[in-house]
């Protein structure tokens, strides 16, 4: 037994995670010792924001290099850095929009920010995980912190119900994921993705049913996280119940992490046996898109509508996963980034307009907004049209990217269904603009208190959506480099 040598690891690789966890701790301590006055000034928000920015700076410094540490269980490469950037962006924006929200809803506790930072750590772990263990741990760290955040409004029953549902179903789905991992471990003898790929290559394709079953169960576990159709039922209730800021965070962060893990596993581990899982995922994609779009039409609550729209977007992303060629994977990355800007922007406006106690979240409450608050209305129209996939916005370029991938690898049928779905989605996204601009205000608008931070978040999202829509080439190149590693 050779002495257990401490695995050499490069500090740089996990620096962002260390920073975030450090700042998480700091926030908790500051919260304990801070007087009431500090809490009013909301010092914690700025501290956590500082943490996020620092982590981003350090993450940026190590682009271009590919580091394996912790005995090849943890890789830092362009792929995980791109996702880190998405996670940090969504966390930063969430902190900006939740700053005034949690004060208004009287849930202004320090743990809120700490939990957000911890869940970001979980996401980073998932994205950087080179073996199933790391991915599992990252998944759990993220999910547990978000279970708590969903139930943060303890006084409100719907928040509790949401967190209970999310917890029970989340744990249930993770059970399947674990069982899948164990089967893969059983049949291939390893949980490292590269070694699994090696094993499959040596065997010349998957013949062992246990391995296939394992792969299926992994699809189930990650499918839940990514909200693909048969496993999507938690999304509308949890998104509606959770505090809106957390809903925004949940609709972007975990979904991106889910796709990061999905791509990582299915491109490196099962990359060679594309035929096996391609049929399953395309069925999932079709079901997800159609259900998401079709039910969204029938919604009257804006949060539930945005929940179904996020399911629909998961459907489009699954198309890219099915295509899995050198356009599809960077397409997914680009689409996720665009999706982050669009979604968080939209939720920010929902927060601003939903007044105290979240009572104005019916779609009809947006009547006449167009000319009462022109800035908010224009922002919302921009986000809605971008999600609908109307050009000069980022949504269009993302969808264009994904449909090109689908057509390139010959899935014409899938592309056609995707295109029909985006036409259906135009109806309910357009309905928002109709109600805002073309309907007279139902009742008198009470004056809105808009904090500068949330305006900053909206502006960042608008700029992001337009920039990615009009000048997407730079981000596309970064995404393409990121995926070279995967092969």
């Amino acid at each position: 037994m050779t002495p257990a040598s401490i695995m050499t690891f490069n500090i740089l690789s996990i620096l962002p995670i260390l920073i975030l966890s450090g700042f998480g701790m700091i926030v908790l301590f500051v919260d304990i010792f801070s007087s009431r006055r500090w809490r009013e000034k909301n010092l914690l928000a700025y501290v956590s924001l500082l943490g996020v920015i620092l982590a981003a700076i350090f993450a940026r410094s190590s682009t271009g290099t590919t580091l394996f540490s912790f005995n090849e269980t943890f890789t830092i490469d362009n792929y995980s850095l791109f996702f880190n950037f998405i996670f940090l962006l969504s966390t930063g924006l969430t902190i900006l929009i939740s700053h005034s929200y949690i004060r208004r809803e009287e849930i202004n506790h320090g743990e809120y920010y700490a939990l957000i930072l911890f869940s970001t750590i979980g996401m980073m772990l998932m994205a950087a995980g080179a073996d199933l263990l790391n991915i599992y741990i990252g998944l759990e760290v993220m999910s547990v912190s978000i279970y708590i955040l969903t139930g943060f409004k303890r006084s409100k029953l719907i928040s509790n119900e949401a967190s209970l549902k999310y917890f029970l179903l989340g744990a249930f789905a993770t059970g399947f994921l674990l069982y899948g991992i164990s089967l893969i471990y059983g049949s291939t003898g390893t949980i490292n993705l590269k070694q699994v790929a090696g094993f499959i290559a040596s065997k010349g394709g998957i013949s062992d049913p246990v391995l296939l079953m394992g792969m299926g169960l992994i699809i189930v576990g990650l499918g839940f996280k990514v909200a693909s159709v048969p496993f999507h039922t938690w999304v509308p209730d949890v998104y509606e119940g959770a505090p809106t800021a957390i809903t925004a965070f949940m609709s972007v962060g975990p979904k991106a992490a889910g796709f990061a893990a999905f791509l990582r596993i299915f491109m490196t581990a099962f990359g060679s046996t594309h035929g096996e899982w391609q049929k399953i995922i395309s069925i999932l994609a079709i079901l997800t898109m159609t259900t998401g779009n079709v039910i969204a039409i029938a919604q009257t609550n804006i949060k539930r509508m945005l929940a179904y729209s996020s399911i629909a977007h998961a459907g489009y992303l699954l198309i890219a996963l099915v295509a899995a060629n050198n356009i599809g994977v960077p397409g997914t990355l680009f689409y996720l980034l665009a999706y982050t800007f669009m979604n968080i922007g939209a939720f920010a406006i929902v927060i601003v307009l939903s007044r105290k106690g979240d009572e104005c979240i019916q779609i009809n409450d947006y009547a006449g907004l167009g000319f009462k608050h022109p800035f908010l209305a224009i922002a919302m129209t921009l986000f809605m049209l971008s999600m609908a996939g109307v050009p000069p916005m980022a949504g269009f370029v993302g969808k264009f990217y994904i449909f090109s991938a689908a057509i390139k690898s010959g899935y014409i049928g899938l592309a056609i269904i995707g295109v029909i779905n985006s036409v259906i989605s135009v109806y309910y996204y357009l309905r928002i603009t109709v109600i805002m601009y073309m309907k007279e205000p139902a009742r008198e608008f009470t004056p809105l208190t808009i904090s500068p931070l949330i305006v900053a978040a909206i502006v960042i999202s608008m700029v992001g959506t337009l920039h990615l829509g009009i000048f997407p080439s730079k981000v596309m190149e970064i995404a393409q480099q990121a995926t070279l590693i995967l092969k």
Partner: protein, 100 residues
């Protein structure tokens, strides 16, 4: 002689029991216990495969799943208590305000 398939079959059975438990029972705590049962079934299969493959990774994995299960238990029960305090019941059939 007990081979690996016996263990795997046992863990599959345990897993199915866990899953049916989640589907049938109404009490949130019981459901959570069934989920724990599923996780332990997975631990069993991990250990069996590790022993059979003569590699330590499986054993290592079990440690992590146990710690995670513990963390999950803490958070889950806290959530169930919060629900109970608010609605005086833990029966999940009463918890369906949000639908459609």
């Amino acid at each position: 002689m007990i081979t690996i398939t016996h263990y795997l079959v046992l863990s599959a059975i345990l897993f199915t029991v866990g899953v049916t438990g989640v589907l049938i029972r109404r009490n949130a705590i019981i459901i959570f216990m069934c989920i724990e049962l599923m996780l332990n079934a997975v631990n069993l299969s991990f250990v069996a495969c590790a022993h059979y493959l003569n590699s330590m990774q499986g054993q290592l994995f079990v440690f992590f799943t146990m710690t995670v299960a513990a963390a999950e238990a803490a958070v889950g029960l806290a959530i169930i208590v919060a629900v109970f305090r608010n609605k005086e019941t833990v029966n999940i059939d009463d918890i369906n305000i949000m639908k459609w």
